[in-house]
Amino acid sequence: MRNLPCRSLDSLIQAGIAPRRARRILREFAEHHADLVAEHISLGDSASDARLAAGARLGTEQQLVANLLARPELRSWAHRLPSLAFGVAPVLSFALAFVVSLLALMALVEWRQAADGARSAASPLIQWIGAYAGIYLLWALPCAVAALLAFMALRRREASIWPCVGIAAVCFVGALTNFSVSLPPGAPSMRAGIGIGTGHIRAILMRAGSTAAPVLLPFLWVRWRQRMSLPH
């Protein structure tokens, strides 16, 4: 199989065709070309004549790209609604991931206590969760959601503006978010709370910046490299 032509692949992805679909179309096109060449060789053509005939029947990759781009239904929803895909959806995803993670931690603690047969705040697992849950929920999770967003935007060759807004929004919401977990003695189960802090705006901005920078700077650098590598 021929290598996929980068120029056509980039054109398709930049126009909003999902990367997986774009790769598949170009592979099908390359396979079809190989079939046509084989057909013409079996009819007695030389290899170079067979390639010319196959090209004439199949058309060029540029024509294929133009025909694909003329069909708006092939463009992904993320390309049609970038503000939703790269601005709103990541913030909602972060909120959902935060709640699910907290619930999973609580379930883990409850399960561990049930396994131990008695509740104990001194249990190593509970101490471990107390030490690392904050780092995970307040730092690692917003960073991970922002990094996933950056990866998707780079893969789809998306313009930088909405992914940057999304990364900033996720990190800002992450910086506003706080949580607490307690295991009151005698209570039937542990308690958890999620809060939004609005005081100390400078601290919030510092926290948002420190989670956004490790994602945003590499994203912008890779995006710049992608632009520089495109043929003009």
Partner: protein, 111 residues
């Protein structure tokens, strides 16, 4: 047959759905089948097939399946139930248009 691209696109769609209603096929096979079944009267630019196939798949009328045959990866297309319903609809439309155009061509005088 040379025709406008929108007409050809509609015809390609009809032919592809009709061929795939019989059995699943991949792109090159479909191009050959179109030439054979239309007795070479219609020769769709073979590169045009893929945008049409992907568009039909996107609209839920076709489903694609990857198969490896003799070391080659083939994407086989098959008709879905929704595709079959759509085929029936556009076949009826085509017959109605065809009868109308034939009538106009055979006796097109308007008194």
């Amino acid at each position: 047959m040379q025709a406008s691209s929108s007409l050809m696109s509609g015809i390609s769609e009809l032919l592809l759905l009709r061929l795939l209603s019989e059995r699943q096929m991949y792109g090159y096979e479909l191009a050959r089948a179109i030439r054979t079944t239309t007795r070479q009267a219609i020769s769709v630019g073979e590169g045009v097939l893929y945008p049409v196939l992907h568009s039909l798949e996107r609209r839920g009328w076709l489903k694609a399946r990857r198969c490896t045959v003799k070391g080659r990866t083939r994407i086989y297309y098959a008709l879905t139930r929704a595709g079959l319903r759509h085929l029936k609809k556009i076949t009826q439309e085509w017959r109605r248009i065809s009868v109308g155009v034939d009538a106009a061509l055979l006796d097109g005088r308007y008194a």
